[in-house]
Amino acid sequence: MRVVVDGVSKTFRDKKGKEVTALSQIDFAINKEEFVVLVGPSGCGKSTLLNIVGGLLSPTEGGVYFEGLSAKQDDPRLGIVFQEIALFPWRTVIDNIAFGLEEMGVGKKERLEKAKVYLDMVGLTGFEQAYPKQLSGGMRQRAGIARALAIEPDLLLMDEPFSALDAQTRTLMQEELLTIWSRTRLSTLYVTHNISEAVYLADRVVVLSRHPGRIKEIIPIDLPKAGRDSEEFRVPFDDYVKQIWNLIRQEAEDALKEG
């Protein structure tokens, strides 16, 4: 199975009729069991691209398709983890996690059992009956991740899932995400601002440029998935970070000046 982003462009038209080209001719693919990370300066169209892949926005040109899904399956399953988390405030944690399964028509008993597995996986054991309001930011995002994992998606999409978290929680969540990912090995498209996070998680990093958003470079991270942050790989790790940072730097500075 492969997800192909094929010549995607997106032009927004604001109320005054002014056109903004957010994305221009984006071509890349996400392979089976591959973790692809999108990085780029603010406003380069990362969220736009993720929304298009997630079926929440129509591209102006081009399209996104899945290759090699079994013929029986009609629609590819997508699990999205939102930056805004977007848990349903009126549902308990377990019911939030079970939401996708409910919509798939899975029976109550089975879906609660499944939801429980993923609830435990993200470390929320004991919070089944809590409402989102009663959780901390990190716990909420875990619940959001569990909700996306529970449907066993063909593609997992995550838009800056940890950007609202403090630095310590963020580091822990990155480690946990890697552990979970090693278990599930889902094809993943992940958006982040944070370059070390990208190098830490990615099989390949797609660097986008701005105005319009184009692919500047695709960088395979040639390091073992586990233990990338260990002393042994510090030098190559830092080289990757530097390489990506140099690609983004100029534009990030421009973005800052424009406000």
């Binding site: 997630g54 079926g55 929440l56 629609d75 399953r77 997508l78 699990g79 999205i80 939102f82 805004e84 977007a86 349903f88 405030p89 009126w90 549902r91 939401f99 996708g100 919509e103 798939m104 409402y131 989102p132 309001k133 909700r147 449907i151």
Partner: protein, 264 residues
């Protein structure tokens, strides 16, 4: 060397968290009732204008045991409950449609907003003309009065549901029906309840008005009847019953809200 004196920091916003004992909410009412009783006992005003609370209470008891107070209350309850349920359910359904479908919104909202501002009480004679003087016109006018605040609140409640939640639901495969039932309705429910509470007041007003215009039974006609006969104490019983009804209504809605919105 002298010991330095300690200055503790005080919580300057403690007043925001002041605890109030349970009896406080009865305190104001109790004081008013006492003063009222006193004024009557001292005969500062004639009982024809203002009967004492104790007199109202005993008269009320007599009207329950020997008179037809309960039948009157029953008739009024029947009308208001039916009218309220009818107006509220139609209001919620149409409000959801207006908020969810762009077509329904474009067609329906000008109609709703142009009718909304008509004081419903002004329609009463017309409705009596159309539907006669039975139960139907009374239930209709109450339903109408309830419908508008509910439809408008439901509509704006739906509009205020966070778009990201709808996107989340759709991305997990929710159908349109599912989105309405599992996201839009619960998301709009707090605002819908605000509308229902608003409508509770309106419904009482219209109930009494409708019963005063044309009814043999009901609290409204009872109040008017005793007013004409200058039986002030009995009239006041009706007024007290109305205020209790309002209180009951409000508490009932509050209870339902707490049950339905445990996540708030």
């Amino acid at each position: 060397m002298a010991e330095p004196s300690k200055k503790y920091i005080k919580n300057k916003v403690a007043f925001l968290e002041t605890k109030v004992p349970g009896y406080a909410s009865l305190l104001g009412i109790a004081v008013i009732l006492l003063l009222w009783e006193l004024i009557c006992r001292l005969e500062w005003v004639s009982p024809l204008f203002l009967p004492a609370p104790t007199a109202i209470l005993t008269t009320g008891w007599e009207m329950i045991t020997q008179g037809d107070l309960l039948q009157n209350v029953g008739a009024s309850l029947y009308r208001i409950v039916l009218g309220f349920l009818l107006g509220a359910s139609v209001g919620i359904a149409i409000g959801l449609a207006l908020g969810f479908s762009r077509w329904a919104e474009a067609i329906g909202s000008p109609i709703v907003y142009s009718l909304y501002t008509i004081p419903k009480i002004a329609l009463l004679p017309l409705i009596v003309l159309w539907l006669g003087i039975g139960e139907l016109p009374k239930i209709t006018i109450i339903a109408l009065g309830v419908f508008f605040p509910v439809v408008i609140n439901t509509y704006s409640g739906v509009k205020n549901v966070d778009a990201i939640l709808i996107k989340a639901a759709v991305s997990f495969g929710a159908s349109h029906m599912s989105v309405i039932r599992k996201v839009i309705l619960p998301g709009a429910l707090p605002v819908i309840f605000a509308g229902l509470k608003l409508a509770a007041g309106t419904s009482l007003l219209l109930l009494v008005a409708a019963e005063m215009i044309a009814a043999k039974q009901g609290i409204g006609s009872m109040v008017l009847h005793y007013g004409n006969l200058m039986l002030t104490t009995k009239l006041m019983v009706g007024v007290v019953v109305l205020s209790l009804l309002g209180l009951l209504f409000n508490r009932g809605l509050q209870w339902l809200e707490n049950r339905l919105l445990p996540w708030k």
